[in-house]
Amino acid sequence: MNSLKIVAEFAPSSKQHDISFEDWRRAQYAQSQVMEYYLRDLTFRMGELLLVVVNDLTVLDQKFIDLLTTRCKNYRGKKQVVVIHNFKEVSTEEELEAVWKVCYFLFFIFNFFPYLHFILATSSGFFYGQT
C-alpha cells in the first residue's frame, strides 16, 4: 500500500523502482542538501569577497559564519568576508536598536567572529556600519 511505482530522479539509470514514499522523500532531501553544499563550496572557492546576508542572526546563520571562519583560516588564498544584516521587517530606528541590543550585544562581547558587520534596515532606508 505504501510503496509507489515512480521513476526515481536520483537514480543513475531511469529504471522504475519499488520504493516507499518515505525513502523517496528522504532521498529528495539528501539530494537537495548535497547539491546545496556543493554549490556553497563552489561559491566559496570562486569568490574573493564573500557577502553573507542575514536578517536576524539565527543559530543557523551563526553556525554558518563559524564554519566560514574555520574554512577561511584553513584556506591558503586570500578571502574577505562581510556580514550584512538586512533587517527586512524592521521599519524604525528604535526597533532596530532594540533588536540589536537583544540579539547581538552579547555576541559582540564574546567576539564570536571578527568580520565587518554592516547593518541595513530596508524599508526606512537608513544604513550604518559597525566593525
Binding site: 536520483f10 543513475p12 537537495s32 570562486m46 546576508v53 536578517n55 564554519l67 588564498g77
Partner: protein
C-alpha cells in the same frame, strides 16, 4: 451654607462630566490618530513594495550573464533534472572557457602525479568530515596527495590569474528569503529579478562595473535551505493548473460568446416571443383546419377565417423569428469584444 454646598456640588458634577467628555474626546482623537498612522504606514509599505517590484519586474528578466543550475548530483546528462549552464554574454563565456581549460590542465597534472606516485587517488570525490557532519555541514578534505598537488597548482594558477584577470569575484551567500538579490540591486546598481515570488537559480553570474571602472563578477546564489522542489509533484501540479486554466479559458470563451449586448438581448427576446407566437398560430391553424374538415357548417366560415388569420400570423411570426435570430447571431459574432467580467477568473 446648604445652598452654597449644593451649588458647589452641582459645579463639581458639571466639571466631572466635562472632564469625562474631554477624556472621551481625547481617546477618540487618539484612536483616530492611531488609525491614520497605521493607514499611512500601510500605504508607505505598499508603495515601497510596489517601487521595489517595479524596479525589479519592469526590466528584462534575463539580467544574468550565466546561470548554472544544478539539481541532481548523479544524473548529470538528464536535461530535465541534471546540470544546465545557460550563457548569455560573450565576456563571461570566454572567462568560463579559460577557467575550464585551466582546470583541465590541472587535472592532467594531477593525473600524471597520481600515476607516478600514489595510485589510490580519486578525482572529484567528496569526503564527509565526522566533525562537520555533526554540524550538518560538509567540506572538501584538505589533506592527502591530491590536495597537496592541487595547492601547488593553485599557487601557480593564482599568480597567472593576477596577471590575466582584471576583475574581482564577489560571492553572495545566505539562507533562503533574506533579500540577497534585493541587496545586490541596492549595492551594485544592478537589476536582478527579486521579489517574494521569484527565487534565484543555482549560481547566477553577472559582470558589472563598480566605482572607478573596477569590474565585479557577481555570483548570486540560491539561498540555503530553500524548499525542496519535487519534480514529480510539481509536474502534476503544473498539469492540474494547466488543465484548470484551459477549462477557465474555455468557459470564458463560452461566456463571452453567449454574453450579449443590450441590442442582441432585445433581438433574442423578440425571437423568443415570435417563436411562441408562431407556435400559438400553428396550433390555432390546426384547430381551425380540424373544424373545417369536420365540416360543421355553422362554424365553417369562422374556422376558415380563423385558419387564414392563423396562417398569416404564423408567417409573420416566422419572419420576425428569422430576422431577430439572424440579428442576434450577427451581433454576438461580429460585435466588438464585450466588456464583461467572467465569473471564472
Amino acid at each position: 451654607m446648604w445652598k452654597k454646598k449644593a451649588v458647589l456640588q452641582a459645579e463639581a458634577l458639571k466639571l466631572q462630566q466635562e472632564a469625562i467628555n474631554k477624556r472621551r474626546d481625547l481617546e477618540e482623537l487618539m484612536r483616530k490618530l492611531n488609525e491614520q498612522e497605521m493607514m499611512l504606514k500601510r500605504e508607505y509599505d505598499s508603495k515601497t513594495e510596489n517601487n521595489i517590484m517595479r524596479m525589479t519586474e519592469g526590466k528584462d528578466p534575463v539580467t544574468y550573464d550565466m546561470i548554472l543550475r544544478a539539481t541532481n548530483f548523479q544524473n548529470l546528462s538528464n536535461q530535465e533534472v541534471g546540470w544546465t549552464l545557460d550563457i548569455f554574454s560573450e565576456e563571461t563565456r570566454d572567462w568560463f572557457i579559460g577557467e575550464v581549460r585551466k582546470m583541465h590542465k590541472e587535472e592532467e597534472l594531477l593525473r600524471a602525479a597520481a600515476e607516478n606516485g600514489n595510485k589510490n587517488v580519486q578525482f572529484g570525490t567528496f569526503h564527509v568530515n565526522q566533525e562537520e557532519e555533526d554540524d550538518e555541514d560538509f567540506v572538501l578534505s584538505d589533506s592527502g596527495p591530491v590536495e597537496k598537488a592541487r595547492s601547488s597548482t593553485r599557487n601557480s594558477r593564482s599568480a597567472s590569474m593576477d596577471q590575466s584577470q582584471n576583475f574581482s569575484i564577489v560571492g553572495v551567500m545566505g539562507y533562503y528569503d533574506k533579500g540577497k538579490s534585493w541587496l545586490l540591486n541596492k549595492l551594485m546598481d544592478t537589476s536582478f529579478p527579486s521579489s517574494k515570488r521569484l527565487a534565484t537559480d543555482g549560481i547566477s553570474f553577472c559582470m558589472t562595473k563598480g566605482p572607478s571602472s573596477t569590474k565585479w563578477l557577481i555570483l548570486d546564489t540560491a539561498g540555503f535551505g530553500s524548499p525542496v522542489s519535487c519534480k514529480f509533484l510539481s509536474n502534476l501540479l503544473l498539469s492540474i493548473s494547466e488543465f484548470k486554466s484551459s477549462l477557465q479559458s474555455f468557459f470564458y470563451f463560452l461566456y463571452s460568446s453567449l454574453s450579449l449586448s443590450s441590442l442582441s438581448l432585445f433581438s433574442l427576446s423578440l425571437s423568443f416571443l415570435s417563436l411562441s407566437l408562431s407556435l400559438f398560430s400553428l396550433s390555432l391553424f390546426s384547430l381551425s383546419f380540424l373544424s373545417l374538415s369536420l365540416s360543421f357548417l355553422s362554424l365553417s366560415l369562422l374556422s376558415l377565417s380563423l385558419s387564414l388569420f392563423s396562417l398569416s400570423l404564423f408567417s409573420l411570426s416566422f419572419l420576425s423569428l428569422s430576422l431577430s435570430l439572424s440579428l442576434s447571431l450577427s451581433l454576438s459574432l461580429f460585435s466588438s469584444p464585450i466588456k464583461l467580467v467572467s465569473p471564472f477568473i
